[in-house]
């Protein structure tokens, strides 16, 4: 019963995080939600009894990709936008 509840919450959280990452107008918020999404996907892989995939997802999907995206945001913020400024 408790695991069913956990799985349902996990599934709901996945969808919410994915939609938030896609639709957020603030890029920083979108990236943070993307990292949250990656960590939740890792949890989902553990629930599916695939800990190997979960480890890779947490490290590469959430960690490294998140770091790269945050780096890209830093560059975007320092570069003046030609159409906005």
């Amino acid at each position: 019963m408790l695991t069913m509840l956990f799985d349902a919450l996990l599934g709901l959280g996945l969808v919410v995080a994915a939609l938030g990452a896609l639709w957020s107008r603030d890029l920083f918020r979108a990236v943070v939600l993307f990292i949250v999404f990656g960590l939740l996907v890792a949890l989902a892989w553990i629930r599916l009894q695939a800990p190997d995939v979960a480890l890779a997802e947490a490290a590469i999907g959430a960690g490294l990709t998140g770091a790269l995206l945050l780096d890209a945001i830093g560059h975007l913020r320092r570069t003046p936008h030609p159409e906005e400024s």
Binding site: P51, D52, A54, L55, A56, A59, I60, G63, L64, A67, L68, D71, A72, G74, H75, R78, T79
Partner: protein, 231 residues
Amino acid sequence: MNRARAYASVALSVGMAVMLGSAVLTREFPPFDLAVDLAEGIPRSGVAHPITAVLLQFRSYDTLLEIAVLLVAVVVALALRDPTPADESSPESVILDSVINTPVLTSLTMTLLPLMTMTAVYLLWAGAFQPGGAFQAGAVLAALGVLWRVSGRRTGPFAANRWSHVALLAGFAGFLAAATTTLLFGRPLLAWPSSYAGVIIVAIETVLTVSIGISLLGLFASAPAPGDERV
């Protein structure tokens, strides 16, 4: 026009769904059970963990090609990098102003350095009998390298120099060497004798860990350096 487009996309999605559904429903199940075959093959694979056995023994050809793809990706990323980086010309530690240079991050990185190294080695070793292995250990190493670079260091174990290029190549080169050595003894490609398989797999995974770590870090580090906004 928009309406026609909407109808077309709905028709396409419905058609796709029907085709996918029929493909799943009419699928013929293979007359063998891969899980059973795998369980029977574990004793002669040299390792105890089924995932590692598949990755580096039964389907090692796929892993070899994966490493080659990763190497090509990193080489392309490095080739697209700014040709005049500041970090290779000066031997001393260059700390850029725009790098996050706070005492917290610096000391945290120094604290995490031994811990994450130990975690990577543990994951590598654990891969022989439980979840873990070269990719996971390499990712931990790469994360450590990202911390190292973000905290402003350009030298030390993660500096871009000749040795890092050797480490980048070592994984694929070592794997390829191990794969082709079997040919010299009249065995098929990648077919290691079961008595040596465990040692060979652990050796390959060790080299792969370093290479994968450096490769992933290379993808991160070949982005333009902070403070350099010539885009």
